[in-house]
Symmetry: C2
Subunit: 348 residues, 2 copies
């Protein structure tokens, strides 16, 4: 019985616009003290008392930012929230609310939207952000997701991109490059599947990489970790576009240069093994692969003792005078200018 | 020289993503005291001190919400901001900031985006809202605009949809139905143009209607007007989907019924003349046409003396018990149940 594979396909037109919004949002309860009024009026109402408010927004387009051939809708919903929450974390602020707008073409049944919103709801619960508003509409083509994330922080806690100084240490959380290699693995499997739809992929060797691609997490914990260590970063940014690109953003905003050390880059063993299998240089992947949603920040040299040996953080370089430029110091001790999308620099 | 008609068409790819964002946002200066940091970091930072924060968001899709065949891009940018600012006004709050995300297919040259952002910038200036963030990306098809509007108000000032009580008076600002008839005029001209591209339309008789459709304004002034009159509405909503639909939303949220009086509906003379020309019932247009961005609110009967005769406001009905239902009382004194998208009700 072929119907069993896809038992329910309810056309969106069956609910109408208001019915659809009510259906998709009825399970969103609010729990933040700062949420006075969530979904259901012309606007949400929030109360941050003496806290500062932090706001970030992102637009995700099918075929540009994601490919539904290998991203399940529930994961996509989760990841869309994570990407926005990560921007709030990158200000050293606490994520508190999000708005979620979605446009879909009529090729999506209600059950597909339910999957997407299940992922959004799961992330909202995981990160304790209230879904306080949004919009649901039809699109001419494909799926479009727009999320605005809101957070709060005391003024003194907020960390901008432009505060790094010469001699500051450059620190990254977690490990990097895995999300990119996860995507390479999934793209290879997609091609195999297109040639032979009956092939059963064996992805055991890549579970960490795939999880980093499909279900990344925002480093909401870093704010707490740094607070406990009594460290206030001098500058911070999240790694969405790739390490090299983010280092350049941070250096330009702070008007400093940087020396990044290849040997210090935190790489997961699975990443190294898979890079060897794919015959790709792991350093290239680590500095250019995006979507890790780790945090990159600078701290004063005086804070070195507080952070060294901490498994959550890796010191990967230090800031220098702006005129010295931004460089990767290789294992062979050569100095290569770092570029955004710097594949050329490394492949030369 | 055919090029003279379209002298500049710069492909978006020439600038790259970061170059494009910088180009489009470089003229956005912030002026609100509550904007501590606008565009240029992972997130904007705002300070509302003891005010409450009001947030609303909208997603606009080409081919669904607008047709570029008769909406100039500059007007579209302006209108997109107005639609969101209107939601903040409908909470009786002061609009203060917006984020703007845009996705475009590569059929749009840079000059088209410049037009769109010129309209956004004009509206931002007109309504004194700071553009504090956003995202610019490519789309698979058409133009997509996502705006989140933020506003502030004292807690006691904020007006929800659910506060209307039996015996309250129902009040509307300005006049209604004109934006809808403006669209009908433009659609007729589009069809004429498709048959004969050399025809020169004479739109003098429809200037008000077309302006209401192409360059609507949000009623930011109403907050000030009501404050001066010492009136605090019991419930408020903006008219984006049409009067009947919004009355039903307000009644359902407030758990009341309503009698709406046909003879009280504020119609512009140009609307009445054009409805006659198009052979459309002007009442049907007034209660079902959307996009007027006027405000609909209820006040206590005691406030009647403060508002009567005020040219900004028209009392169009009064609230009744929920069990009495929601009705239009016609000029012939018959009682017709009001429905959202209620064309059937009136054409029957």
């Amino acid at each position: 019985m072929i119907e069993d594979k896809n038992p329910q396909r309810t056309p969106l037109s069956q609910l109408g616009e208001f019915g659809l919004i009510e259906h998709l949002t009825k399970n969103f309860e609010t729990s933040r003290p700062s949420t006075l009024k969530g979904i259901g009026d012309d606007a949400a109402v929030l109360d941050f008392k003496d806290k500062k408010v932090v706001v970030s927004t992102d637009l995700l387009i099918e075929g540009v930012h994601f490919d539904l051939a290998y991203v399940p809708l529930k994961h996509l919903g989760y990841k869309a929230v994570v990407a926005n929450v990560s921007d709030i974390c990158a200000m050293n602020a606490l994520p508190t609310q999000i708005t979620v707008s979605v446009a879909v073409s009529n090729r999506f049944p209600l059950e597909a939207l339910d999957e997407l919103f299940a992922g959004i709801a799961l992330a909202a619960k995981e990160y304790r952000v209230d879904v306080i508003g949004g919009d649901t509409t039809s699109s001419q083509k494909g799926l479009i997701i727009s999320i605005t994330a809101i957070g709060e922080a005391d003024e003194g806690e907020i960390v901008y991109r432009d505060g790094a100084k010469e001699m500051d240490l450059l620190v990254v959380t977690g490990d990097i490059g895995a999300a990119y290699m996860g995507l390479q693995v999934l793209e290879r499997e997609k091609q195999v599947f297109q040639v032979n739809p009956n092939s059963q992929p064996d992805l055991d060797a890549y579970t960490y990489l795939i999880e980093r691609q499909l279900k990344p997490e925002a480093r909401k914990d870093v704010r707490t970790l740094l607070h406990a260590l009594e460290i206030r970063p001098t500058a911070m940014i999240d790694i969405s576009d790739g390490l090299s690109s983010e280092i350049i953003h941070l250096c330009k905003a702070s008007k400093v240069g940087c020396n990044l050390y290849e040997e210090k880059l935190p790489l997961d063993p699975q990443l190294i093994a898979t890079c060897e299998e794919f015959n790709i240089d792991s350093t290239t992947v680590a500095i250019n692969g995006g979507e890790d949603y780790e945090l990159l920040f600078t701290i004063k040299m005086d804070d070195f003792e507080k952070i060294k040996g901490n498994p959550n953080f890796t010191i990967i370089g230090h800031m220098v005078k702006e005129t010295e430029g931004i460089h990767l110091i290789t294992r062979a001790d050569t100095k290569i200018p770092l570029r955004a999308r710097g594949w050329d620099a490394l492949e030369a």
